[in-house]
């Protein structure tokens, strides 16, 4: 199985011994040994995946990397975090997924209203199986645990990914003041309840709801 290592937080090194990983298109910065790069149309999920991704707007340009040696990945000096999956499901924004083990299955799911406020569409990418996935974030991601006793509220612009058995709920604090220009700037939040981990980046994407 491919070995994922971080080299200084912004570069991902993957040791390959004849196995494959899937990575964001064009994210390879260097490699040692023999590598073959193959563009995967529609994120490598077959025709059905291709159509789903087109329809949902959750597009993901992926390539398949196969070979012997070490391959280095990086993207716009984003910070990289590793997530080890043992059968769980990781939900991640497609723009935040850098690399995943070849044995992991990726797919698309409906997220509900959260996506709409983020401007990222109503769908999110899921990664499932056993193996490692690498996430990108603007600044090193903070991992926050959610337990039934301590639900977590996250700004949609800072949300990167989550794992575990979590229910997400879209929470608004919009009231008449918002429309009078007296909004709090924190009117939209995603509330996570249940048991799991949430990855949050120390930066906010520009969101439609961000200024309200």
């Amino acid at each position: 199985m491919a070995q994922f290592r971080l080299q200084g937080g912004k570069v991902l090194a993957v040791d390959l011994a004849g196995d494959t990983v899937r990575a964001k298109n064009g994210s390879m910065v260097a490699y040692d040994g023999q590598m073959a790069f193959k563009k995967l149309t529609g994120g490598g999920e077959g025709l059905r995946g291709l159509v789903t991704r087109r329809l949902t707007g959750e597009q993901m340009e992926m390539m398949e990397v196969k070979g012997q040696g070490t391959c280095y990945f990086a993207d716009r000096a984003s910070d990289i975090g590793l997530v080890t999956l043992q059968g769980q499901k990781l939900h991640v924004e497609s723009s935040n997924l850098l690399c995943a083990d070849g044995s992991l299955r990726t797919g698309t799911t409906f997220t509900g209203l959260r996506g709409a406020s983020q401007g990222n569409g109503l769908f999110t990418t899921t990664v499932e199986g056993t193996g490692t996935a690498a996430l990108m974030s603007d600044g090193p991601a903070v991992v926050l645990r959610v337990t039934p006793q301590s639900p977590l509220q996250v700004d949609p612009g800072a949300y990167v990914a989550h794992t575990g058995d979590l229910r997400q709920e879209f929470q608004t604090g919009v009231n008449f003041r918002t429309f009078m220009g007296e909004g709090s700037g924190e009117s939209f939040q995603i509330r996570f309840e249940g048991e799991g981990l949430v990855y949050v980046q120390p930066s906010e994407r520009n969101t439609i709801g961000g200024d309200v």
């Binding site: 603007d138 903070v142 926050l144 604090g173 700037g185 924190e186 980046q201």
Partner: protein, 259 residues
């Protein structure tokens, strides 16, 4: 392989940095924070704009900047919240019966025991009193002691300095050529002719890049008022017609030539 550190509601460091880019506030009561800088929170916290009625008394005692009112909110409740800004370095500072002036865009949050006042230097705000505040900078913050001259873009703020003022390198006025150069920009400018000058006792905070926080209108001076530096509409004394400003122009040189 050991995974990343997982934080939960109890292991988050109270009132300390989680990593160089995120700060955790252990809230019980109220904090002022700039809009959109909260990234996540545990517990029961509500966010209200400065104009929220029940906050009137608090605002009256610790918020004296109507200009920035629309950019600030009050977080109220109990819990732990994480603050961050564009993956910039975040630091907290303790002020003890002191004063500190900071670029308005760089201030993330402050305790209500401090009072925020708009600085007479446009684009900056001053914090007075005793308490904790959180500020962001692009790259680490460096503390330097006056006398020092600082690039305007690298300046984050200053504490206890009596006299921040502008400093222009004399070169721009030297001879006819110097004047022409300054007026037209032809012949090249180093881009470092203009500095902020600090003298006296105090501390100056600088960041390690010249990239500024994307500023909203927060720095705009208050509407036309006599005696307020940089106030809009202050051109009245020079007749209605305004000369278009040429790039690279320093110190209204065209006025010297009677243009």
């Amino acid at each position: 392989m050991n995974g990343p550190i997982v934080h939960d509601a109890h292991t988050l460091p109270p009132n300390d940095n989680v990593n160089p880019y995120a700060f955790c506030v252990d809230l019980s009561g109220r904090w002022f924070l700039q809009k959109g800088k909260m990234i996540a929170y545990y517990g029961q916290i509500t966010f209200n704009g400065i104009g929220h009625g029940p906050l009137d008394r608090l605002v009256a005692t610790s918020f004296h900047s109507p200009l920035h009112a629309s950019d600030w909110v009050v977080a109220e409740g109990k819990g732990r919240m994480l603050l961050a800004d564009r993956a910039f370095d975040v630091n907290s500072y303790d002020l003890e019966d002191g004063n500190l002036t900071i670029r308005s865009g760089n201030l993330l949050a402050f305790e209500p025991s401090l009072a925020l006042k708009q600085s007479i230097v446009p684009g900056f705000v001053t914090l007075l009193g005793t308490g904790k505040f959180v500020a962001a900078s692009n790259g680490e913050v460096h503390f330097v002691e006056p006398p020092v001259r600082v690039d305007p873009q690298a300046l984050v703020g200053w504490a206890d300095c009596p006299s921040p003022c502008h400093h222009y390198d004399h070169q721009y006025m030297r001879g006819v050529l110097g004047g022409l150069r300054a007026m037209t920009g032809i012949g090249g400018v180093s881009g470092e002719e203009h500095q902020f000058d600090f003298t006296g006792a105090g501390t100056v905070l600088i960041q390690s890049t010249e990239v500024l926080m994307e500023e909203r209108d927060t720095g705009a001076p208050p509407p036309s008022q006599p005696g307020v530096p940089g106030a809009g509409g202050g051109h009245g004394g020079r007749g209605g017609q305004q000369m278009p400003q040429l790039p690279g122009q320093l110190g209204d040189i065209q006025r010297r030539f009677g243009l």
